[in-house]
């Protein structure tokens, strides 16, 4: 082979390697970008007057006077909408009345005609045709009215979804029906639905699916008093909803309301914290002790080999199997709690991260220079005293790093807590309640909201917000670990 070719292959290999690293980084970026951008949408968004009203009424937050002033403004801007609607309703009612009138007239005329028996056939036929024509005309008018009424019902529903219930009407029971759109991005979606009707049109080829066509809703109301409503709504949407940049940091500390339509994710965050800390409570002492034994006391041999094999096996057990085991052992056999509970979940998670804690602590303890121990022993300390006072403190930062990384793992695990700890709805627990009660938790509720919620699309921002929170939580823990490790290596070098 020529030298040039060999060099080319070499470069190619380098390029492939760098390409793979770039691809790796790109994958991370592609993953993180939507999560971060849309996740921030849960915290920072353009909130409408409905949002401020909701915060004031349900959470007691905000400036009463300012909100009332804004509300008055919005009501003023909305008034024409309701006026046009009621005018149109009146028009429909009038239409019904005149139709009824015409029907009455028609029936009278028909009766009249039937009474005239002496008419010639020709005349009779003409009269009959005239009557038929009128009947068809009446039917057409009736159909038209019914169609308009149906369109009106849909339109009113959409306007209710956009602006909330009309002032003066009874208050609906669900929060989501009590208010209009609280977020401007969602409001724009609704606005679009009001202005355009999504229709599906058959194609000529019957083998092709229908295609989506947007038809202006105004077409259905052309020539009626409602026609000006649509340009009005289009031009005055901002005046009716008064969107303003809103920061909702309390998303992290509010409980959720109306099946996560409103409020924040505090119960989930708290549940995750309990589960994680609980898992650490069990795993850390056991893990550190095991690591001390493995490094300082155990003699390499059969026993240690077996121990290591089992620790590795434990690390390799699929997480869902831990879930099943937690259910079968902690709940059904040991009865640590009557049903799912934070306690059972923590114990299950603890088993999952135990190998991680052991390995990390082992490494940290091994990294302590042997001279430390030798110095302590030479001063007459017993072995365990040396471990306790010299080796452990020296290894502590490394052990902590490992613990922090395992915390991240415990916080993000879903499969082990499905059967042992997690529920979809619950309020924030007090620590003593955690022993016996299940809790919502971030990882499980992300799954739950993304797949099992009845309005998946409308609460996307909450889902993204949850994912962002969880990812940030885990990444912060990892970042802390990375920083800690950097410090340690600096210290060791110095």
């Amino acid at each position: 082979m020529r030298l040039g070719t060999r060099k080319l292959i070499d470069r190619g290999m380098t390029a492939l390697g760098i390409g793979s690293i770039v691809l790796l980084a790109a994958a991370l970026l592609v993953f993180l970008a939507p999560i971060v951008v849309r996740g921030l949408g849960a915290f920072v968004f353009r909130g409408t007057i409905e949002y401020r009203q909701l915060t004031l009424e349900k959470f007691g937050r905000g400036d009463v006077d300012a909100v009332e002033a804004e509300q008055a403004e919005a009501v003023e801007a909305r008034r024409p909408v309701y006026e046009m609607l009621s005018a149109y309703k009146k028009e429909l009612a009038d239409g019904h009345e005149s139709l009824d009138e015409a029907k009455k007239q028609f029936r009278a005329d028909r009766k009249e005609m039937r009474r005239h028996e002496g008419l010639a056939d020709q005349q009779r036929a003409d009269a009959q045709a005239e009557l038929d024509r009128r009947e068809a005309e009446l039917d057409r008018r009736g159909e038209q009215l019914a169609k308009h009424e149906a369109s009106l019902v849909e339109l009113e529903e959409l306007i209710r979804e956009l602006l909330g219930p009309e002032p003066g009407q009874s208050v609906p029971v669900l929060w989501r029906d009590q208010y209009g759109q609280t977020r401007w991005d969602r409001a724009q979606v609704k606005l679009d639905q009001i202005l355009n009707v999504e229709t599906w049109v058959d194609q000529d080829d019957p083998d092709q699916p229908r295609v989506r066509v947007l038809v202006p809703r105004a077409d259905a109301f052309e020539g009626t008093t409602l026609a000006p409503l649509f340009p009005y709504i289009e031009n005055n949407a901002e005046a009716m909803l008064l969107p303003r940049l809103t920061f909702y940091w309390r998303f992290l500390t509010d409980t959720s309301f109306d099946a996560h339509f409103f409020g924040g994710i505090w119960p989930e965050i708290l549940g995750t914290i309990y589960l994680t800390l609980g898992a650490m409570l069990f795993a850390v002492p056991m893990g550190v002790v095991a690591a001390i034994y493995l490094v300082e006391y155990a003699r390499e041999g059969f026993l240690v080999r077996v121990l290591r094999t089992f620790i590795n096996t434990l690390a390799g057990v699929p997480s869902i199997v831990f879930g099943l085991f937690g259910l079968a052992f902690f709940i059904s056999t040991m009865h640590v709690s009557p049903s799912k509970s934070v306690l059972a979940g923590s114990m299950t998670l603890a088993m999952l991260i135990l190998p991680m804690v052991i390995r990390a602590s082992e490494e940290a303890i091994r990294a302590v220079p042997a001279t430390y121990k030798e110095a302590a022993l030479s001063l007459g300390a017993s072995k365990w005293w040396a471990v306790l006072t010299v080796i452990l403190p020296a290894a502590l930062p490394g052990v902590l790093t490992g613990i922090v990384i395992s915390m991240g793992r415990a916080a993000g695990e879903t499969a082990p807590i499905i059967f042992t700890a997690a529920v979809s709805v619950g309020k924030p627990l007090w620590p003593w309640e955690a022993l016996s009660q299940p809790t919502p938790a971030l990882p499980w509720n992300i799954y739950n909201l993304a797949t099992e919620h009845e309005a998946v699309d409308e609460i996307r921002h909450v889902q993204y917000g949850m994912v962002l929170t969880l990812v940030l939580l885990v990444l912060l823990l990892n970042a802390a670990a990375i920083v800690m490790r950097a410090r340690i290596s600096k210290k060791l070098r110095a």
Partner: protein, 275 residues
């Protein structure tokens, strides 16, 4: 010294009493994802009226609800089907007497993507699709696309209703995607032009197209009157009738109140009684 003892005792009581209270004032609901929205809204409404009560809702499926009730690990099991023989037997064997509260009626709507021109299926066609006999939409008057079948986990209540009312002994073909909930089925159908799925009536919205079955469109009237062929009652089961006046009693009888019915109607189900 005495003061110290008093302090200790009160501290101990302080530690214990919340536990005792917590144990009394919590209601655990477990079961169907179909009844889930009702249970969750009831829970929230009830907690807003009784802040001292914690109502937790798990949506893990009807079978699990029954199991939890039998094991005494939940107070109310939400189920989208009636209890089965063996569940009853297991319950009685454990001294649990299941009492059914019918909270609402639900129709199983057959949904397709709005781009699908098919409007109507007979029950037999519907069955044939899921059995795998009909593989392409063109066989039932639709576009030439192979059908993507979306179904539910084999032991959800919705699935069991589907199996008994639609499949009637025939087997669902293996290439049916299964999902964990009504919401997931709808999400799949609204994003997939060639798909078909079945969900509770309360889950039908503008993004999917419900089909008429045997010419009957699913809506409140046809479901409540039983004209629509795939309809079923939704249950909450309790162990015995709850003691009157307890939180549990208040919770499971919410569906009888006007507010309860309003909630049921607001999330798209059909209340059992008319006010």
């Amino acid at each position: 010294m005495r003061r110290f003892i008093v302090f200790l005792v009160s501290a101990a009581l302080g530690m214990v009493s919340p536990v005792a209270m917590a144990a009394e004032t919590r209601i655990v609901v477990d079961g169907s994802t179909t009844v889930g929205p009702i249970a969750k809204q009831f829970a929230q409404y009830y907690m807003s009226k009784h802040p001292d009560v914690n109502v937790t809702v798990s949506e893990s499926g009807s079978g699990n609800g029954a199991k939890s009730l039998v094991n005494g690990t939940c107070d109310a099991a939400s189920m989208s089907r009636f209890m089965k023989d063996n569940e009853f037997q297991a319950a009685v064997a454990k001294g649990v007497m299941p009492v059914a509260h019918v909270v609402a009626v639900d129709g199983l709507a057959v949904i397709v993507h709005p781009s699908n021109r098919v409007k109507d299926l007979s029950l037999a066609q519907f069955r044939d699709i899921y059995e795998g006999k009909i593989k392409n939409w063109s066989e039932v008057g639709g576009p030439s696309l192979s059908i993507v079948k979306v179904g539910r986990d084999t032991n959800s209540g919705t699935y069991e209703t589907f199996e008994s009312l639609v499949m009637q002994g025939a087997r669902v073909s293996g290439d049916t995607e299964t999902t964990g909930s009504n919401g997931a089925v709808r999400a799949r159908v609204q994003s997939t032009p060639a798909s078909i799925g079945y969900v509770g009536l309360g889950f039908v919205d503008r993004t999917v197209k419900p089909l008429a079955v045997n010419g009957i469109v699913p809506n409140r009237e046809t479901v409540a009157s039983g004209v629509y062929p795939i309809a079923r009652p939704l249950f909450l089961f309790t162990n015995g009738y709850p003691k009157l006046g307890t939180p549990l009693h208040g919770f499971v009888t919410l569906y009888l109140s006007e507010k309860g019915q309003e909630i049921i109607e607001a999330i798209g189900f059909v209340p059992v009684t008319d006010y």
